[in-house]
């Protein structure tokens, strides 16, 4: 066992799992963040707003646990990377956290006081609490792809605005629109009637913008980051970005023909592949430095011990499939449309 699973092999496995975890998080929380972002634009009355809240109802909390797990795995598998990255991204991370806190509260508090003003406050909170995380996650990951200003001590030397360069902003917008499209499809799956029509139309209207942003991001990635190197060196890996492009292009066909489940799967896989493209492109760095490549934090130097990585791999191999099974079960239990009747029940948001 330890002959195959050497420390180096374990490090690479955990790096890939790390990327996969972030990918799963983006796929899952992506749709509810996307819906929240579109809340003020798609919903025009109280019932429609409540459909949107309840379409995320049983899922958003479980989805966010993938973020906790992704953060936890960064801490556990690559402690140095976790330490450097999280302290470097101090301000954006805290804004992200506050946004997520307010957003979570908006679900729970919104219907607790029967007043339009009160609900209006939490609708705004839901929008900001969804839009900001999507934007910041995009900015942060774009920042990771192009490297962040860390010195030889792993200390961040930039300012709060260093990440908000052209590439960073492009990454942020790309994430916002990617999640918004994903959210439209989810909403379309969960709603009926006029709101569903609006969600369908919105997905198709946003799609050209998504293509534009994806192309711009890909081109900018070529100029601003070393991400493509590994794909040019190991050509079969290029299947990842190529497949992502194909999925993006075939997406509207499924929406137009009303195959929403397939469209959602396409959109989900697209998000996953985009994440994997970026993460694999960073190899062998976990936190690249744009001051000097030598200051970059690599997988090898930041990884935990062989024993820790082995134990965590065992835990992951046993538990994650179980998690996926019961989460999938919950998705099937709550796969129904949010109907008027559903909104009238005493447990709806």
């Amino acid at each position: 066992m330890s002959e195959i699973f050497t420390h180096e092999v374990l490090q690479v496995i955990w790096f890939l799992l790390w990327g996969l975890l972030w990918g799963i998080y983006f796929v899952l929380d992506g749709f509810d963040l996307g819906m929240g972002t579109l809340l003020p634009f798609l919903a025009s009355n109280e019932d429609e707003r409540r459909v949107i809240f309840n379409a995320a109802g049983p899922f958003w909390d479980g989805n966010e646990v993938w973020l906790i797990t992704a953060g936890g795995v960064t801490f556990a598998a690559f402690p140095l990377a976790y330490a450097v990255l999280f302290s470097a991204l101090y301000a954006p991370l805290l804004i992200l956290l506050f946004a997520l806190i307010f957003r979570a509260v908006s679900f729970e508090f919104r219907n607790k006081i029967d007043s339009p003003q009160w609900r209006k406050i939490w609708d705004t909170v839901q929008f900001l609490g969804s839009f900001l995380p999507a934007l910041l996650l995009g900015v942060a990951f774009a920042g990771l792809f192009q490297g962040i200003p860390i010195n030889e001590n792993g200390v961040y030397t930039g300012t709060i605005l260093s990440l908000l360069n052209v590439y960073g902003l492009l990454g942020g917008l790309f994430f916002v629109v990617m999640f918004a499209v994903h959210g439209c499809v989810w909403l379309s799956l969960k709603s009926e009637g006029y709101l569903q029509e609006k969600a369908d139309r919105c997905a198709l209207k946003l799609w050209p913008l998504l293509v534009l942003l994806a192309v711009a991001f890909l081109v900018a990635t070529y100029f601003y980051t070393p991400l493509f190197n590994i794909f040019l060196r190991i050509l079969p890996l290029s299947i990842i970005p190529l497949l992502a492009v194909v999925l993006l292009l075939i997406f509207p066909a499924f929406m137009r023909s009303g195959k929403r489940v397939t469209a959602f799967a396409v959109s989900a896989l697209f998000i996953l592949l985009v994440t994997l493209f970026g993460v694999i492109g960073m190899f062998p760095n976990v936190v690249p430095s744009n001051i000097n490549p030598e200051y970059s934090i690599t997988i090898a130097e930041s990884a935990s011990s062989q024993l820790t990585l082995t134990i965590m791999l065992c835990v992951a191999l046993v538990c994650v499939p179980i998690v996926i099974i019961y989460q999938a079960w919950v998705y099937s239990v709550f796969s129904h449309k949010i109907t008027k009747e559903e909104l009238d029940s005493d447990h709806a948001y």
């Binding site: 801490f75 402690p79 999280f86 302290s87 997520l100 820790t308 992951a316 919950v330 709550f334």
Partner: protein, 473 residues
């Protein structure tokens, strides 16, 4: 202001605020599970209504518990980067396992329970709340195993400034952690009991839903009685565990300065921290401190004036501590130096001592209240004074738990990991101004949300199960 102090304050704010919501979740989920099981077994609709009503309060409480927990996990990286790097191999992996094993289970089945009343069968629904109760109490195992490791770092080796995992089994069977876990669980479950007692009592004196709140009260009365008696008993054995693994903490709890055989326990003590002695020491019970610490009244109890140098020597030998090395170098080249002298390696005495006294005083009060509540469980409606008192004391178990955690965490100082890493060595190279700003943001945001949450809890607690109760308070 000092970056170390600011980072510590921020962590204190984040962790205390988080822990306002945790204990109720730990205890109330079990009570909910019991109520719903009775409903499923007997078919008595009243217990379904009970699960729904208390469940609504649980959910209002739960949302903030989750998100403030995410903040905590990120705090280690944002503000305690050197700590994270130093202990990630052990501490980080335990947090990751906690998320995988417990958080997924908890969040997924909370959703089934919250939204699934008409979607799944009665039995599956009841299973969901048991799963939530199990998962939340399981998550406490892991986080306390992680904290227990900071108190008593077993199963690890120290290499090049980092603690590496040597024996996982030893880490998860750490006797200190399990003692702490049982202590935390008993206190949290008791807290939930007082929560149900207080709210039920208020409704009962107003003759509102007497059957509903009578049943709630009786269930909680037995539960709270058992727990409030078990808690101080187990608390004593936990104290023995602390004495064994962290003599410095025990000495600070008792403000015990000089090593002594047959050490007495003074009932009246006033610490004089500056001069490292007590300015008042009166009413001794001979040999009782020795007895409490070890079970033998003639044994030796190490004093604060002796323990610091001993602990420090152990630390220096293990880690090769160099006081002239900066704890961090900021981006602008500023070196943050925090050298520490051997004799100063003791916890802040006054805070530890007072928090411990507060915790003990409350822990003596709780069984008395619980005995009365249990004795008067059928006649509470006719005892408006006591009923109001029960509602008024709802915050006390919270205060008791906070005091307990203060003893545990302040009493561990100056170490972030006992005798392995100093708290000052754990910080991030983030400028003090940034931490000050985020600390203010935390206080404002948490303050606002805390007030709103308590307001809503109160509102829904007073509304009663159908939301039609006349204003009770």
């Amino acid at each position: 202001m000092d970056v170390v102090l600011l980072s510590r304050l921020q962590f204190a704010v984040a962790v205390f605020f988080h822990f306002i919501f945790v204990p109720l979740t730990l205890g109330l989920t079990v009570l909910l599970a019991i109520m719903e099981t009775i409903y499923v077994r007997t078919g008595n609709e009243q217990y379904k209504r009970m699960a729904k009503f208390w469940g609504k309060l649980f959910l209002i409480n739960f949302a903030l518990g989750i998100v403030t927990g995410i903040t905590l996990e990120f705090q280690f990286g944002t503000n305690w980067a050197n700590y994270s790097h130093g202990v990630g191999d052990i501490f980080g992996s335990i947090l990751a396992i906690e998320a995988t094993l417990a958080f997924f289970l908890e969040s997924t089945f909370v959703a089934v329970w919250h939204f699934g009343w008409e979607k799944v069968s009665k039995k599956v629904h009841c299973f969901a709340i048991w799963a939530v109760a199990f998962a939340s109490n399981l998550s406490a195992v892991w986080i306390i195993v992680a904290n227990g490791w900071m108190q008593n770092p077993v199963g690890s080796t120290f290499v090049n400034g980092r603690a590496l995992l040597a024996d996982f089994w030893e880490v998860i069977t750490n006797p200190f952690a399990w003692s702490m876990y049982v202590h935390t669980i008993l206190a949290s479950w008791m807290l939930a009991g007082f929560f149900v007692l207080g709210i039920s009592a208020l409704h009962l004196v107003k003759n509102n839903e007497t059957d509903f709140f009578g049943r709630s009260f009786k269930l909680a009365a037995g539960w709270t009685l058992v727990l409030s008696v078990l808690l101080p008993l187990q608390g004593h054995t936990h104290g023995v565990t602390v004495a064994k693994y962290q003599p410095a903490k025990l000495a600070a709890m008792e403000s015990h300065w000089e090593t002594k055989k047959s050490a007495p326990l003074y009932l009246l003590v006033l610490p004089d921290e500056k001069n490292r002695r007590n300015s008042i020491e009166a009413l001794p019970i001979p040999g009782f401190l020795s007895f409490l610490a070890t079970g033998d009244s003639s044994s030796e109890v190490v004093g604060l004036n002796q323990i610091g140098e001993k602990d420090f020597a152990e630390f220096a030998a293990k880690t090769g501590y160099k006081p002239d090395r900066p704890v961090v170098v900021m981006a602008d080249g500023e070196k943050v130096m925090r050298p520490i002298k051997a004799q100063d390696a003791i916890p802040p005495v006054m805070i530890t001592f007072l928090s411990f006294r507060l915790m003990i005083a409350l822990a003596i009060l709780f069984p008395l209240l619980a005995i009365l509540a249990f004795a008067w469980r059928d006649s509470i409606a006719k005892r408006p004074g006591f009923a109001r008192l029960l509602a008024l004391v709802i915050p006390l178990p919270y205060i008791c738990i906070m005091a307990g955690w203060t003893v545990a965490e302040v009493g561990r100082q100056p170490w972030i990991v006992n005798k392995l890493m100093l708290t000052v060595q754990g910080i991030s190279a983030v400028p003090a101004s940034s931490v000050a700003l985020s600390l203010v943001a935390f206080i404002v945001v948490y303050g606002l949300l805390g007030v709103l949450d308590i307001y809503l809890l109160r509102k829904y607690a007073l509304k009663g199960p159908d939301g039609t109760a006349p204003a009770v308070a």
